[in-house]
């Protein structure tokens, strides 16, 4: 089988993995090819609008596991292929020097056993890093259940590792992926966390300590394959950030690929809007000092689809608003719909030298159409009506689409 056919099969099987970020590591070229930038670089965007930063492929799609949601599951009758380590290393390097990609995202189906697969991944990494002297970004998936010593060896060679937990609860994971279980996945995450901390601490004392997974770890959850609501998903997300110090939790709207009684029908549409709202909430958790309990609770177990989570929170808590722009603290400003981390920082900066009026808000990067209802500037409320949450909600809802009236 030639490389082109293999690439077709193995890229097609890897596309459902979400993470493609290449940020979080700064490394100079140490004599060879490649470096890594702290801010990460996207190289192109595919037809679905997702960025292509890393060469995202599976090492092999020949799987012994039988997870319901996965296109490469054992019981599917599809063409199987595996890269040799040299093929994959050549592909990475040639793509990289033509500036097609920022590095490699290497995942794999479980071929024979988790340890066997992890060893093959390490072979590719060693070839790239040692023989080809490649210093670009490498993201590696931890094969669930692989031996801790193998995970450690891979961690010394790559920039980011991720353990996919796929489902927020043990119950739904058991249902959809009978060979996987959360405690085993959490054990790998805990190991990564401990090792990262250990190496970081060592580097403080010993200059020559090598770096271990300098880009941190991330994970991914499939949304819409099981019955779990947003409350469960967001609480799990928050716990993951807190317990394992994750850099990112990715959400992947379930794209139906298999027919199964535990799954949505093949004709169902991926819940893209729900995924979008979850990502918005994820940003609120990481950068806006929100807690999961504030976004969803027993009465609102799912996020509203029509209004973004921050506006929904603001409308449920009218007692905080309207907020005086010239007095509010950074944390308070972050709670205003239409104000982001950068515009909040600009507001803080500018008001040190001059008081801010409503007509300046747009120039500060504030989304005025949302923020106008929740702030006052120098004591003046810029929204064109008295402050009234119910009326604001009506204005913020998407406009209904008009249709021609029927004649009969």
């Amino acid at each position: 089988m030639d490389v082109l056919t293999k690439l077709d099969i193995l890229a097609g099987a890897a596309k459902f993995d979400v993470s493609c970020s290449s940020s979080g590591v700064a490394r100079k070229n140490q004599g060879g090819t490649g470096n890594a930038k702290l801010f990460g670089i996207c190289h192109t965007w595919s037809a679905d609008g997702r960025c292509i930063s890393l060469l995202k492929v599976l090492l092999s799609n020949d799987c012994v596991y039988d997870c319901c949601y996965c296109v490469s599951r054992r019981s599917n009758n599809i063409p199987r292929a595996s890269f040799t380590s040299r093929e994959l290393a050549d592909l990475t390097l040639q793509f990289y020097r033509r500036n097609y990609i920022e590095g490699l995202f290497l995942s794999s189906a479980v071929e024979k056993s988790p340890d066997h697969t992890m060893e093959k991944i390490i072979q590719v990494l060693t070839l790239l890093r040692k023989e080809y002297e490649f210093h670009g970004y490498i993201h590696v998936k931890v094969i669930p259940g692989a031996d801790p010593s193998l995970i450690n060896r891979a961690g010394m060679l790559c920039d980011r590792m991720s353990v996919n937990i796929e489902q927020p609860t043990e119950h739904s994971l058991r249902l959809l992926a009978p060979q996987k279980s959360l405690p085993i996945l959490y054990a790998s995450m805990q190991q990564l966390k401990d090792q990262i901390l250990l190496y970081k601490d060592d580097r403080r004392h010993f200059h020559r300590t090598p770096r271990f997974v300098p880009g941190g770890q991330s994970t991914q959850m499939i949304v819409g394959a099981s019955q779990d609501n947003d409350l469960t998903i967001l609480h799990t997300t928050q716990a993951l950030y807190k317990n394992f110090g994750l850099k990112r939790v990715y959400f992947s709207a379930y794209v139906p690929v298999n027919q199964d009684s535990n799954l949505p029908a093949l004709t169902s549409v991926p819940p893209l809007l729900r995924e979008h709202r979850l990502y918005q909430s994820d940003w609120l958790l990481r950068f806006y000092h929100f807690k999961a309990e504030e976004l969803v609770d027993a009465n609102h177990a799912n996020l509203e689809t029509e209004i973004d989570p921050k506006s929904a929170w603001a409308l449920r808590h009218p007692e905080y608003f309207p907020l005086e722009i010239n007095r509010a603290s950074y944390e308070e400003l972050l709670r205003v719909p239409g104000i982001g981390t950068k515009s909040a920082w600009r507001i803080i900066n500018q008001r040190r030298v001059v008081a801010i009026s409503a007509d300046q808000l747009k120039k500060l990067g504030v989304v005025f159409k949302r923020a106008q209802y929740f702030v006052t500037c120098k004591g003046i409320y810029p929204g064109n009506m008295p402050y009234n949450p119910a009326a604001i909600r009506r204005l913020m809802l998407p406009k209904p689409s008009f249709t021609q009236m029927s004649l009969f």
Binding site: T33, N35, N99
Partner: protein
């Protein structure tokens, strides 16, 4: 008095010098594009590196290093009134010092910040949206950016592809960055990378070495395979990769692949 400069950054800074030490400038213009008026006289300023150096140092000391970077970025932008914006910004800057950048919505500061963001953002975009092809002897990449960002891209690729010989060609301005692969130094003692900015008007032949077509084909296949059909969203894609950039992007040169 209108000051006319030769289009170089040093020339622009020399005009700023004369604005303070000779007659006040009504405006600064690039000599090539200047339209004389009846009311104002104009003088062509002779670029003087020592005077420019003094202004350069003054911006760094009296305003901030950040402001200097912003001014340079605005100078690289393709805005028609960039000289006026820089003059206004610096006049306010020399009055207020480093605090000038806190006045985000001030009419002399806001346009400078905005242009600075545009140039920085385009530079960042082209770190990714640049495609080299291997002609056998060297790597060649063509681009037509909105702003003159070549010098901002050079250091990045000189570090990344340190052992390669490459050319990045701005087809809009007929300029290119040329790097000969010799800035590559194992002990990192050489801090300055050896790249040159030169005039350049060269067109690559259409026929490629077979090795190169092989990798191009693989990349085009990969690009098609990695997108999920049921999430297809061309509007979002256009937002990230505007049509005007696609001319030079290999992956947008082919009709869609059959699934």
């Amino acid at each position: 008095m209108d000051y006319l400069y030769d289009g170089s950054f040093d020339g622009l800074l020399t005009c700023i010098y004369h604005h303070y030490y000779n007659e006040t400038a009504a405006g600064i213009y690039q000599q090539e594009y200047y339209q004389p008026t009846l009311l104002l006289s104009s003088v062509a300023v002779c670029t003087d590196p020592t005077l420019a150096k003094r202004v350069y140092q003054a911006i760094e000391d009296k305003i901030s290093a950040n402001a200097l970077v912003k001014v340079y970025h605005v100078y690289l932008s393709s805005s028609p009134d960039k000289e006026e914006l820089i003059l206004n910004y610096l006049r306010l800057g020399f009055k207020l010092g480093a605090k000038v950048d806190l006045y985000h919505s001030h009419s002399a500061v806001y346009p400078v910040h905005k242009l600075d963001r545009k140039v920085t953002a385009e530079t960042h975009r082209f770190l990714g949206l640049l495609r080299f092809r291997d002609s056998g002897n060297f790597l060649y990449a063509a681009l037509s950016p909105d702003h003159h960002i070549l010098t901002l891209l050079a250091d990045h690729f000189a570090d990344r592809l340190a052992g390669e010989r490459w050319v990045i060609h701005d087809q809009k301005r007929n300029l290119a960055i040329v790097y000969d692969g010799k800035g590559h130094c194992r002990d990192n003692s050489l801090l300055q990378f050896k790249w040159y900015l030169t005039n350049f008007s060269y067109h690559m032949q259409a026929d490629l070495p077979p090795e190169e077509s092989h990798w191009q084909l693989l990349w085009q296949h990969y690009f098609q395979r990695i997108s999920i059909e049921s999430r297809c969203n061309p509007r979002l894609q256009s937002h990230f990769v505007p049509q005007r950039y696609r001319r030079h992007l290999l992956e947008f040169q082919i009709p869609p692949l059959k699934q």
